[in-house]
């Protein structure tokens, strides 16, 4: 993959960690966009074609699950893989995320191997 990655998390620290782990995992990208909440993410998605979205669930303004539904409704990122990166690790949360359109789910804390196993197959498809 050589495109743009959008990382959505209210923690700037976590956005940096996600990007660093993607790089270590060998996920190549040309540009990075960062959003601190769902509204910022929607603005960026309306103006940019992205190749991968990494999204937190517990965020202010709107949750990651609500954001997924908005992205789906507005067809802002048709076919773009969305991977949830969150502390919420229950089966129920995973199911909700997949139903709302997520293609992958990574629970915090995570390792490079989690990124390799959950993100790389989506980019190769």
């Amino acid at each position: 993959m050589k495109g743009t990655i959008l990382v959505i998390d209210d923690s700037a620290m976590m956005r940096k960690i996600v990007l660093r782990t993607l790089k270590t995992a060998g996920v190549e990208y040309e540009q990075v966009l960062e959003a601190g909440d769902g509204n910022e993410a929607l603005v960026l998605l309306r103006a940019n074609q992205v190749a991968l979205i990494m999204c937190d669930i517990n965020m202010p303004v709107m949750t990651g699950l609500d954001l997924l539904l908005k992205i789906k409704e507005e067809k802002l990122a048709v076919g773009v893989p969305i991977v949830m990166v969150t502390t919420e690790g229950s089966e129920q949360h995973v199911r909700q995320a997949i139903l709302a359109g997520a293609r992958g789910y990574i629970r915090k804390p995570f390792t490079v191997e989690h990124i390799v196993n959950n993100v790389k197959p989506l980019l190769a498809a």
């Binding site: 209210d10 923690s11 620290m13 517990n58 202010p60 690790g89 229950s90 915090k108 804390p109």
Partner: protein
């Protein structure tokens, strides 16, 4: 009666105070520190001894629980320990005192510890939600609960630093 009592099976006080729950907390701490920070960490043997001398533990992060358990997860440490955590999260980049990254780091740490603990408790995993973290600077504060609460306190040692973890559980059955 609150909405949460109608829709969720409350997490019992016996379960909360059990040895198994203490182990869940320890496992969550070890997992987060080893996977995200690269630190070895372990509980301090005299875990309920209370005061420890030295630098004040003036950095605190708190995450709230709601749903089948109402309460908080609180982590406390010195500013130096908080800087060390922020630096580790940034892959070893030094962090100066006053950098926003410090509060961000301990907020995320608390979030992951709270999530890691509750995901290990089947009753809470899907029926308990986490609030965004709140970070407090300063040692002179008190957390007030709306209802009587019980707490589980643990002390851990990593590198040369000490981390204090407290899980508070409100009694949902109280008037």
């Amino acid at each position: 009666m609150s909405e949460s009592m109608l829709t969720h099976k409350p997490y019992g006080s016996q379960e909360f105070l059990s040895t198994q729950n203490r182990d869940h907390a320890d496992e969550a701490v070890v997992e987060v520190f080893s996977m995200m920070l690269g630190f070895e960490i372990g509980p301090v043997p005299d875990t309920d001894s209370g005061q420890h001398p030295g630098e004040p533990n003036d950095r605190t992060a708190i995450v709230g629980f709601s749903g089948s358990m109402r309460g908080t997860c609180e982590v406390r440490m010195t500013s130096l320990a908080a800087r060390s955590i922020a630096s580790a999260m940034l892959g070893g980049t030094p962090v100066e005192e006053g950098d926003d990254a410090i509060d961000d780091a301990i907020g995320e740490l608390c979030n992951m510890l709270a999530g890691g603990w509750k995901n290990r408790v089947p009753t809470l995993s899907s029926d308990c939600s986490l609030s965004p973290p709140t970070v407090i600077s300063g040692a002179d504060y008190k957390v007030h609960m709306r209802q009587p609460s019980m707490k589980l306190s643990r002390i851990y040692q990593f590198d040369v630093h000490t981390l204090y973890l407290t899980l508070h559980r409100e009694d949902l059955g109280a008037a």
